[in-house]
Assembly symmetry: D2
Homo-oligomer: 342 residues x 4
């Protein structure tokens, strides 16, 4: 017996990544793939690397019989997602990969996404999908809101430090080096090969990036007070991966201990020996997260570096990890594939 | 029950790729990893992307108890490989990834590799490891010689055409675009990032590349006469993959039919609809091969394009496919992972 | 005294490359830059790497006073170019970088570009801009049609061989490895960084590429009979450059002699010593062309490899070289900058 | 009349970059190129992109007649440089590109470079080569010590802020994204294409990078007290360029004013309008530096971003700028070439 899976919005990168991961998942079977503008096309026309698979053709969402679906992954754009999910049968389990249900407070949603939320009732019900920290709620959730990929990376390295009280909450700086697939398959000039090769630049600098909404919500909740961090993502010439560098004020040994302790039994999160730093390519294509802690020459200053693959641990891998829990499966099922190196 | 696997020469790229693929293979277990100069080191020190795995430390070959090993992959450099394999117990099944046992004729070996073969007796016994064409011999073989990665790509697109007699045997041109990992992890100036970015150049041009020994041997055997092709590999700024363009003289429809017919039931080789061409990234990280056939505007001229991942279908994936057969397992076991895209 | 230059269609890559090269040209001064959809914007908004320059703002073509312009570079899209150029004052010298005036025969134009030519009269007058071969006509021309970048590369390596009669005219195969900037700054999915990294694929395979119109016209003219070559361009993950591999049938020594002889006194075209092959990056950013000749192991077969930067020698550099001649300047003026390596 | 130039250590990337820039310099002529291990070779054998140039062959340093040399660029490795320079005729003007003469204090040199300085007397005499800040001393200097490329970038964005007193000196964090050519043409595993593609990682993290010696020396001197910054360089998959992100505590408007004011008349340093950020590729191949200032959402926090090409403004371009001053030439001579984009 396998669980029947639908992927809504399968024609984007996170959709393709879900297909890749589910292909070798022993307990999931894809029964429906939607792609509104591409309805009627075979998935192999959109993604020829899936040519060998026996997949359903892309269809419209309204053509899916949700009575036969155990769980739906929703990989639709922001705003579209809430409109679609509120029309789904209330019994369908959903893992949403958009930003629509990440923020608890409708006011915060409107602040960061520029318009009112249209499904406030189910927004309340959604569980934040950072698996390692919401495991129990996710197990019994109907709707899980996948995190932002930058937001996941930042939280993996900072949550245990805030929880343990080992860093100054008013002096947290997070500088990210991010690969281009986080922006999806969209046609934008700065995503062209000729523009990005030998290039690097910051964007949404100074507190404008929407994932700050997640950081504010989560960090403040852990700390029991308002926490505001500085966060700058930088686009680099790479396809997959996020390397997050956090500059914090706190003793390096306490920082390392807090992380090692928090993740001691986690299958996907690996804290390196003290003083070692991770490399982005070491987790590429996998659901792993590597974290390193290095002491600065200035006493009391510490650098914490974490890395994940944005399409796997940062979105589609995380989504399957959550779906495993929601379906009562082993959390790591189908997710232990090894990073692709080189 | 699982089969006990040793990897000799595990510190190179093909060794790391074997570890990646075996990690999710349901019937193989790695019991020994050798790396002479790195003996004593943990595999995770050499390849931190394997950090989460529970692997034996690197050891010297002489420290492996081959009585407990069901099959050894030999990923050693050319020449070293023959010296090592001739000292292994004659009952140990071996898949060799080097060039040492690919050529039947010791004279040809000496011609292409510049020194006499030192294990001529076992050279006789070795089976050429192009699975799709030597399946039966491989099943009962003790020693299988993995093919060259360029040689595999060229043969996938040309063997059925030579066998079917649909092309002119004296007018075959093979132009390859190859990624850099085919050269291994060796420290050479032209493999540096700064040298290869925005670069492309042919090498071993004009009939000097050693994989021609394999082409000559195999194509002549199929044709029943001497066949000599033109073959030029070109290094391009990419890490994994080979895109092979063959210019042949023969009717495109007959060419396409010969290929489609030959690979109709092959799980890993996919012939595209007539007129379509494959892209290198569509097979990256996988054991698949995509082949396309396009008719030229000049009557009687046809372009055949094939692509594989040099580290997977071109070496370590092929090796596991062969090992599956040698161990009586399903040929595709552990090899159906989906290409990583993007 | 300097010559007053207008660039029509300055917002594309060839426009930007013209600005880059003219910036250090001692006898040219940019007086007008057009960019219809971007009229009113500063060039530095479109191309911030030009920030330090004192350039006119982008304007509409109709706002340029051509009485004050000595020479106009026309870097507009195909079809637009002919519509614009036929309205320019007949005294304005023009170097067109589009495909509109490359083909002598209106029938051929319609065949390759899919619609009738709308400026047949001035099409007759245009001189084909492959400087090394049309030098005298260019000196006195009013309108010069810049060549296709692929067409330029192929002609540099093949014209002298056809002229010298040293190769079989019915057995010419041209395989190109081309960087992405040849496709311009257009928003197309296959030009995205995430799609092209670790990728390579042929396009317009089998005789469909429009530059074949130029090859057919020029090679047939030289040979005095119809010549049809096979031509396949392959996109590779690089930004600038074309590496052209020609497979020809003829004695390598005669081929090398024909090329060395043809280019002996050419400032930009360098024929390497016999047996050496060029690398794409060795000409990047410059107006140089490197050509190598290698003998195949099959007697009578020869590989000729040539490389240029598609944006420089393949379009904007060539355009300035032609403009120098049209203005009575030294042909190399402003074009001797050294390739950028690494 | 031109000045006669020798380049000692011409076979590295900075040597090649000096040749590239001097090639179009109207007042410099290369008369000698040394390369000890490659003595006797032509420069075009080491760097085929220089094939078209008429350059002296590589020689040994002792074979150079310094009586005929007006100025020597010394692009030798650290430690070698001091040994060579102390043997040069005391009348020869020298621009050193190594680290050997950057630090005033021999104790600091030993601390960062691990052994005592062997030319302490001429160390005293050397002028620090950050042109915009040592212009007058450089004009009359005999020996100028080129800065580290990371050190230059960091100083361009931070010096005016420290001088103007607009930021907290104890809260300066500098996160660099650096391209690979800064490491030179050395054969190291992490510099291989296959290792760096899709990768990113910090190195010399936590205060271990040698360029901190320069920051400490210069910033403390400006401030009149000890200043210690946090500095982490991150290698990214790119060939040329440094993008430096400084996190400072001070009013953004005051920060922007201090920078705009400091560089108002500088030909190579461009401060962007308030709120805009630079991109690394916008200065590639040129001697320009772009600087942007963005206000953070947290009051009193500011992000300053600067970018240069490490081989040009960060080393060889800076060296020529300094040589121009030392020879009484216009400071910008030969350095106004436009960045290469795309």
């Amino acid at each position: 017996m396998t669980y029947k899976i639908a992927i809504l919005g399968a024609s984007g990168y996170t959709g393709a990544e879900l297909v890749r991961l589910i292909a070798t998942h022993p307990m999931m079977e894809i029964v429906a793939l939607s792609g509104d503008r591409k309805a009627g096309m075979e998935m192999a026309e959109v993604y020829p690397h899936l040519r060998h698979m026996d997949l359903p053709a892309l269809c419209k969402i309204e053509d899916i019989d949700f009575a036969t679906v155990d769980l739906a992954f929703c990989a639709l754009p922001h705003a579209t997602s809430q409109a679609v999910i509120k029309e789904l049968p209330p019994t369908t389990k959903v893992v949403d990969l958009s930003a629509d249900f990440r923020l608890r407070d409708p006011g915060e949603y409107e602040k960061w996404y520029g318009k009112p939320h249209s499904a406030v009732e189910i927004q309340k019900e959604a569980v934040y999908g950072l698996t390692e920290f919401y495991r129990d709620e996710i197990k019994s959730a109907r709707l899980v809101a996948g995190t932002g990929c930058n937001a996941a990376t930042g939280q993996f390295i900072l949550r245990p430090l805030i929880a343990a009280g080992v860093i100054d909450l008013d002096q947290i700086i997070l500088d990210l080096k991010v690969a281009v697939s986080g922006a999806g398959r969209s046609l934008k000039e700065h995503l062209l090969y000729g523009e990005l090769e030998d290039n690097a630049f910051g964007y949404s600098i100074g507190g404008k990036h929407r994932h700050l909404g997640e950081f504010d919500q989560e960090f403040s909740k852990i700390a029991g007070r308002d926490v505001r961090i500085q966060f700058t993502p930088n686009l680099i010439p790479a396809t997959r991966g996020i390397l997050a560098t956090a500059y914090v004020q706190g003793e390096a040994s306490a920082v390392h201990y807090a992380l090692a302790d928090a993740y001691m039994n986690e299958p996907f999160i690996h804290v390196l020996p003290f003083g070692q730093a991770p490399a982005m390519k070491h987790v590429r294509g996998s659901n792993f997260c590597h974290i390193g802690v290095v002491e600065d020459r200035i006493p009391g200053r510490t650098i914490v570096i974490g890395t994940i693959d944005n399409l796997t641990k940062g979105s589609s891998g995380q989504a399957i990890q959550n779906a495993n829990l929601m379906l009562g499966l082993d959390e790591t099922m189908g997710l232990m594939n090894v990073p692709m190196y080189p």
